[in-house]
Structure formats: structure tokens, C-alpha cells
């Protein structure tokens, strides 16, 4: 099963390597990991997407909790959550037909074109992972120059929150 684990972590050098090291040392899957500081400069918020049986997920959360730098942790897939990922795609856009097609497709996906040259578009798109997958799939493979994905972030719906 796929799980989204949200963590509040001490914003200290080495914290990230402790967490990624835990995953590699214990052989846990890691689909994506995103991290940045929060409104409190001493804390980072991390989102880890992982997969595994219930037993493995239980071990992952316990082992993460054991790390001294981890302040708080929540498996948000246990609740009602929102998940989003952001993507930049640079595509070839030469000639009116091609440019028009890319534009149309982007509109359907509510993507935004954020940079334009004579030969390329750069597109920004936010959504679930599968939406981003679908966008890439709909694009001609050899039109794609570059794909940058942020990895997913998650947050609980409603009043529940992961705070200190």
C-alpha cells in the first residue's frame, strides 16, 4: 500500500541524511521525498511517499520516530488528505500546429505556460501524481525536452494539523 508520511524535523544539517539513510539501510521503498523549512525556521516539513505492507509501514513510522531529529510524524493516508505535486515540462514547440496543440493540451490540464522561446514552451502543472503522468503521456514522447517533478506534498483536510 502507498502511504504519505508527513514529518516535522529539526532544521539541522544531517537530518535529511539520517532519514534517507534509514530508508536505504533498512531497505524501505521511497517513492519521493520533499523537504523545506516551515514558518518556524527551526523546523522543516518533510513529505515521504513510500510503499509497503502494513507491517513495514508500521516499522517505518516507528523507526522514523526513533530518530532524534524527528519531532513529530503522521501517516496522513490514515486520514482525509490532500496530495499535490508540481511539475515543469519543457517541450518542443515549433511551428503553429505544434504550438497550438501544446497550448490546447495544457488548457485541458489547466497547466500554465510559463516560459516561451521560438522553439520551446515551459509548462507548469500542479496536481495529483496520476494527473501529471497523464499529461506526460498525452504529450508526444519525442516532443519532451525535460521533465522536473517536485515529488508529492500532502496535508490533512479539515482542522486536523501536524503542528508542535
Amino acid at each position: 500500500m502507498r502511504h504519505i508520511i508527513s514529518l516535522l524535523v529539526e532544521n539541522e544539517a544531517g537530518a535529511l541524511s539520517r532519514i534517507s539513510g534509514l530508508f536505504s539501510a533498512r531497505g524501505y521503498n521511497i517513492e519521493s521525498l520533499t523537504v523545506a523549512t516551515t514558518e518556524d525556521q527551526t523546523l522543516s516539513r518533510m513529505t515521504i511517499i513510500t510503499t509497503g505492507s502494513d507491517r513495514i509501514i508500521e516499522q517505518i513510522t516507528k523507526q522514523l520516530n526513533k530518530l532524534v531529529d524527528v519531532v513529530k510524524l503522521q501517516d496522513i493516508t490514515e486520514g482525509n488528505f490532500i496530495e499535490r505535486e508540481m511539475m515543469f515540462v519543457k517541450v518542443k514547440a515549433e511551428g503553429d500546429t505544434q504550438r497550438g496543440e501544446v497550448k490546447r493540451l495544457s488548457d485541458i490540464f489547466r497547466a500554465r505556460i510559463i516560459d516561451v522561446t521560438d522553439t520551446t514552451f515551459c509548462i507548469e502543472l500542479t496536481g495529483s501524481g496520476s494527473k501529471l503522468d497523464a499529461y506526460i503521456k498525452s504529450m508526444h514522447e519525442n516532443n519532451i525536452v525535460e521533465v522536473v517533478r517536485s515529488g508529492s506534498m500532502g496535508i490533512l483536510r479539515g482542522e486536523k494539523a501536524l503542528t508542535l
Partner: protein, 583 residues
Amino acid sequence: MELSGSEIIIQFLKDEGVKHIFGYPGGAVLHIYDALQKQTDVEHILVRHEQGASHAADGYARATGKPCVCLVTSGPGATNAITGIATAYMDSIPLVVITGQVPSHVIGQDAFQEVDAVGISRPCVKHNFLVKDLSKLAETLKKAFYVATTGRPGPVVVDIPKDITAPHIKIPYEYPAKVEMRSYNPNFKGHPRQIKRAVELMLGAKRPMVYTGGGVIMDDASQELRDFVHKLGFPITQTLMGLGAFPGTDPQFIGMLGMHGTYEANMAMHECDVLICIGARFDDRITGVTSKFCPYAQIIHVDIDPASISKTINADIPIVGGAKQVLTEMLKQLEKTEVQVDQAALESWWNTIKSWQSQDSFAYAKKDGVIQPQEAVEELYKVTKGDAYITSDVGQHQMYAAQFYPFDEPRRWINSGGLGTMGFGLPAAMGIKLAFPDKDVACVTGEGSIQMCIQELSTCLQYGLHVKIINLNNRYLGMVRQWQEFFYEKRYSHVYMDSLPDFVKLAEAYGHVGIRVDDPNDLHDAMVEAFKLKDRTVFLDIITDQEANVYPMISAGKAHNEMDISPLQQAKQALLKSKGELV
């Protein structure tokens, strides 16, 4: 008080109550060594290899229950200490390891003797720190002690760049008596409702079994465990790390369990209907293949580390809490309740266990003119009256020591269980002797293992650490040879210790006494002689049967009731079977 970084380290250690540290100097810690030299409160023991420092500190910590400190230089000093740090980590031992680091401004530039000590040690420490700011030094050291000793203990590395310890930069110092870390909360109290459920379950058991481990020793909960087991009248088994928490000579103790445990302990694990596990971690050496583990049992698991619970074996009643607190609470509830143990069922269970015990699974055949390793350990037990601190290295001799030296007190049996580190025994014994100079300390070792930290014989001489080395010399890497005999059709690949040194001469070269014994008839006298020489380190080189094996043994993929038993026991079973007496 205005102190330099080096002075802060020393003053902090004093304030923390540290009397001894083990270490080895080098460029990055020169300032600290200069400060050390100017005082006498903290005694520094100069080892001969940094691995020795971390094992010695580890032995000291295991025997005293207090955290112990080592101090090593950057680069090779730090990497040499790693084996000892990993050893302590696997067995949850509180160490604080101070590693020198190159000056802050050259970190990352491949400076002379630079190694990323924090990065290298990360997977084998409970936590580690790089001190970047002199003003944080004392607080960081305090955090290191706090983290190392609380919750599930473990080693902590503090990496200190040289500039932080510079003698001319001084700042005000005050001992940080308390630290708080919002991200670290090690205090778990067993949930009362879970404890109640556990007590109900154990009182309803027909074939109960208590299985305890190192956690009971770490929590100094031996007395509580004894009261608990005596009150219930249940059989108890202990892991290799738990030996001594419950007395080894008590009739309710049915021996160690696991790969080389007793027949009765493993059979009882297999057949029990309620398993009460306290402070043990269901290691693969004790579970055998997990799918066949305790097939009939409901499992209660008490552990301070939530991650130990249901890691390999699912617990029916998980209790996150310290052994001492939970046992005390269980005892209280047992006092209160009206429910009684089913005595008839318990008696019949004990009868079954006794029939397994009659197999005498550790029995071995003595031979004329050849010393059996088991009899050497039995002799050691007799001569020390079972009251010595015994360390061991890793191999067959380690198992013989665990099997044939019953420990009646905790913290007397000191060995590397989790990592299985050859080379542990001698430095660990040094650490213990330093802590308890008036006690007998013996290191049961093999000719393979002892050579991994033999250089520490020199440290023994310098500091008068008069340990006894009981070398069970089978001229083989015996444990590996045994596996090659059993599983590789006797293809002995690189396990013969050719060109061994003359250990008697070697001991003498180091300034000690060496005694060689190769006749069983001389064993007793040699052992007595070794322990009579109170103010000498004695190396007893005991030439033992070359191809003796450790029995019983659970092979890979096997269950507790599928042990390989010794040829002697096989003959006995065959006899009993023919008489129709085998249950």
C-alpha cells in the same frame, strides 16, 4: 569560570561524574590532551588501538551500568573506533565517543586526516553531533550523555573540530545540569490496561514461558524479574544478552534459548501457549525461521523501544515501557488479583519440561589426554566459584562460556551478541577490571579472536589491569569450521590457524605470565595458579580438542523443535525411544 573548549570538555566530564576515559591521541585532539595532562580527576587510559578504546569503554559501561567515554583523533582514529561503536550500538550500550575533527574552516577540503565522522558513524550510533560553535559545546556534551543513557541506550558520537578546542579562546562555562530536546522523548510508561490484559492472559496459561533479554539488565530490573518469576512459578529462558538477570542456577531457569540454547528451552518455546517476553528483541538467532516460531503461543512483549515490538514477530499484547516499571506494575496486579495460576496444568507442564531436561543436551564426552573446551569452562566456573566477570570473544568458546558458566548476577557476562565482534573480549575485560579492580575478570577467547586485539596486553601492563585470558586454543576458527563441517561437507576453507604464535612467549614478551595446558589432568592446577596471581595478567593457553562442536544447534530455516543434537544426546534419545519413554 572562563574556559577553553578543551577545558570545558574536561570540566564537563568531571561534573558529569566521569572518572575514566579510554583514548588515543592525535593531531586533532592535541589541545584536549594538553588539558587532560594538567589535571588528575579524570584518568585517561591509553589503549594501543582505538578499537580497544571503544570496546574497553563498552565493557566498563556494561559492567557498571554507567555510560563510558572514549576520546580519539580524527580520520583513522575515528574509523578505528567504529567497530567498537557498532558493537555497542547492536547491544544498546551507552557510550559517548568524542572524535577530534579537522579545523572547521578546512572541513570538506580533504584536509589531512579528515573523515566525515558524523557520516561514517551515522548508521551505527543512536545519535551524533558535530559541534560547530564553542558556546554549544557543553550543552552538546550533556545532550550526548542524555541521549546515550535514556530510553533504549546506545552510543553517541560527538565530533569536535580542532578550532573549537583552541586553548586561547575562552568562554564562560556552567555545567548544564539539564537539557531538553523537544524531538526526543524517551520516557514510556507501560499502559495500565495493556498490563492488566497481560496479567489476565498469563494467569490463564496452561503452558506459560518467560523469555527475557538484555533489556532487563539495562534497566537494572533483575530483582523485579526474580520476584515476578518466583511468584508465578513459571519456567524462564534468557537470551545470550540476558544471562544473569535471573540466576543461572535457579531451578526455574531452563537455560538459554536459540541457536545454541538448551533442548528444553527451545522445546518449551515451541510448545508454550503464552509467551511473556521482557526486554528481548526476537533476534533471528533465537526465533529460527519466523513462520514456525512459537506456533501455539499468545505473545506478550514488553520493550522500551516501540520499534522492537512486532518487528519480526507479531505481539498479541504489546507493552511499550521500561522492564522495571512494567514488572513492578505486574507484580502489584498479581498481588491484588484473586485469580490463581492453574497449578495442575503448570505441574504437568513442568513434568514435560523435566523430561526434556533429562536429555542433558549440553552433555559431552571427555577424552583421555585431550581437553574438551567445555571442561575448561567448567573448571573456570569452579575455580572462580561462579563469581567472576566473564567476557568473551566470538566463536565456539563464546557459546561454551554461555552454556557452562551459569551466571547468578546481572552484568557479569559481557559479550558481543548483536554484532558478534571478534576482538571484543580482551579490551572489554580491561574496562571491567578498571571499574572493579578487586574482582576476578576473565576473558574466554579463542586463538583466532584474541589476535584481533592482542595489542591491548600492553595496556594491561601499563595500568595494572590484571585480567586472566582463558584461551580455548583449538587451532581453528572453530565456529566457522563447525559450519563448514555441517553445511559444506567438511570442506574446511581457510579456517586453520596455521603459524600461530607461541602464546606463552607472547604473554611473556608483553610482561605477563603465560601458562600452557594440554592435559586435562593439569587443567585445575593451572586455573588455580592463574587466579592466585592476583597482581599479574595471566594468559592461559589451553590446547583443546580440535574438532569439538557446539550443541544443540538450530540450523537455518529450522524451528525450535528441529534442533540438531549432539551425538551423545542422539544415542540417549535412541535408547529412550527403544524403551518407549520419549515424550
